[in-house]
């Protein structure tokens, strides 16, 4: 069924009885050409592009729980193309361009909203760094504008401009950045993939790989063995656990990141803002809640919940930037498990095992990457070669000394 305005009117007049489920609930088949482990945004997008771009149809996505229950349904929904380094920025710009056409492409309302992202600066050094980053963005086809204090004041008059320690000196504005309804991204890709024949198999956990003579022949699951021509692993925070089943140790630690939403307010925050002097970033959802977050908790975790010190730290950052927040009540807090890589950048690569490829290490920034990660992973699975925007995302970059370290922190995942 195609969604359209006429369809909505028709359904309204007939009691909304014609809407069916968005995707089937098939039994797993004994063999597929492509098996994707992990039904998050990335796994679903990979299956979608394998079918739509690369003409494949015998594809399954295996999801341990339900579609949208992982990080794709837990993130703070920000999309942007404002990276600095060469290995990264062309990829994220490719992703943002895909976001710009996504809803028409998969015929689903994902509420892509390019409301702009403003990274605030509070010192001269930060302003210089913002200028440099802005230039790198523009060189890669993205957009960037450096605002002075007055420019920021026009957009966000209620910020704490005269904070004695951290005065707002300006900001780097990325107008094409914004937010997307995260659940709808999972659902839209799932529906689009299903319509092209992909089997989305929920409640199906991968528990092992069948590897013979260095070749991966399929996946052991809680619903039996599923044979595969190519296996793609895309399980975000569970990356180390799943790849350990194939005997691999990854350059990764799993950490918990928390996020928060306030009670619903009238429209107050038109875009996304990030504080340059504390761990706090914020946007307002269309329902009115302020959606905000900060830094990871900083220790290995698979618990999907964090601790109070970070909540306090984020609240302090928020109130020091927007004093008016002091009266806002917090509605919910939650956590997700991040696949924090050793340089803060991802991996989309083949492994030493034939027929087994990997996509992960997205840290806290993989939502914005969803369309391009899906596209590039599909490209790798189909052709065996990296997509032109993802050539730097290799396993061996650590051995070769080609880290993509945006923050310059070194091999310390909790600092990225």
């Amino acid at each position: 069924m195609r969604y359209s305005g006429i369809r909505v009117i028709k359904e309204a007049l007939s009691g909304h009885k014609g809407w069916g489920p968005l995707w089937r609930d098939p039994e797993p088949k004994p063999h597929y050409d492509f098996v994707i482990i992990g039904g998050g945004g990335h796994g679903l997008a990979t299956a979608y592009y394998l079918a739509r771009e690369f003409g494949e149809s015998r594809i399954a996505v295996l999801e341990r729980g339900w579609i949208g229950g992982g990080n794709v349904g837990r993130n703070t929904t920000i999309i942007r193309s404002n990276y600095l380094l060469d290995g990264n920025e062309p990829f994220y710009e490719f992703s943002l361009k895909l976001w710009e056409g996504l809803e028409q492409d998969f015929n689903f309302n994902a509420m892509v909203s390019q409301r702009g992202i403003l990274n605030l600066v509070h010192t001269d050094a930060q302003r210089d760094a913002a200028r440099r980053r802005g230039n790198a963005m523009i060189l890669n086809g993205s957009d960037a504008e450096l605002l002075d204090t007055e420019g920021v004041r026009k957009l966000y008059p209620f910020l704490n401009f005269d904070n004695a320690r951290f005065p707002i000196k300006g900001g780097l504005l990325h107008r094409r950045g914004g937010t997307v309804r995260h659940d709808a991204v999972a659902w839209g890709y799932a529906r689009g993939a299903d319509q092209r024949g992909v089997d989305i198999i929920q409640n199906c956990e991968a528990t092992g790989f069948k590897i013979e003579d260095g070749k991966c022949l399929g996946v052991e699951t809680t619903r039996g063995f599923i044979g595969a021509g190519q296996v793609g692993v895309s399980v975000a925070g569970s990356s180390s656990r799943v790849m350990a089943l194939a005997g691999m140790r990854l350059p990764m630690e799993s950490h918990v990141l928390q996020a928060f939403v306030s009670e619903g307010l009238k429209p107050v925050l038109p875009g996304v803002i990030t504080y340059g002097a504390g761990h706090f970033y914020c946007s307002q959802s269309d329902k009115g809640g302020l959606v905000f977050g900060g830094d990871i908790d900083g220790y290995n975790s698979y618990a999907q919940r964090g601790n109070l010190p970070v909540i306090e730290d984020v609240a302090e950052g928020g109130i020091s930037l927007i004093p008016a927040l002091g009266r806002v009540r917090l509605l919910r807090a939650w956590g997700g498990i991040m696949d924090m890589s050793m340089d803060g950048s991802p991996i989309i690569d083949n492994t030493h095992i034939e027929g087994l490829s990997f996509n992960g290490g997205w840290c806290y920034g993989g939502f914005k990457a969803t369309p391009a990660a899906g596209w590039c992973f599909a490209h790798l699975l189909k052709t065996g070669q990296p997509h032109e925007t993802a050539t730097a995302y290799r396993f061996d970059r650590f051995r070769r000394g080609y880290m993509i370290d945006e923050k310059g922190q070194g091999a310390q995942p909790n600092l990225h």
Binding site: S240, R241, A244, R249, L250, P251, M252, E253, S254, G298, Y299, N300, S301, Y302, A303, N307, P309, M342, F398, R399, A411, Q412, P413, N414
Partner: protein
């Protein structure tokens, strides 16, 4: 989280900074064969288990000692805390 410091008693985890897997105590021999391969594994690869994890915490705003904390990464429950110095000696590092 509360870390039960062997010398100072229960302390808030906020007083500590976190380094990572306690296997970092075992720095490879820089003159050994395949030192560069070993340093690659030491520096970049991690077991990253879901469950019991032995890890290094530094009491930064306290007595500045290094601790080896055994903690369950699924529940955050801490079951054992030792001075890293004792662990390192027991495992044959240092004098």
């Amino acid at each position: 989280m509360i870390i039960n410091h062997p010398l100072l008693g229960p302390r808030d985890a906020q007083e500590f900074t976190y380094l990572g897997d306690a296997s970092l105590i075992h720095r490879p021999d820089w003159q050994g064969e395949d030192a560069s391969g070993q340093f690659h594994d030491y520096l970049y690869l991690r077991d990253n288990p879901a469950g019991q994890h032995r890890e290094l915490w530094f009491h930064e705003v306290g007595d500045r000692s290094w601790l080896v904390v055994t903690r369950n990464t699924l529940t955050h429950e801490i079951s054992n805390v030792e001075l890293a110095r004792d662990v390192a000696r027991r495992e044959g590092r240092g004098k």
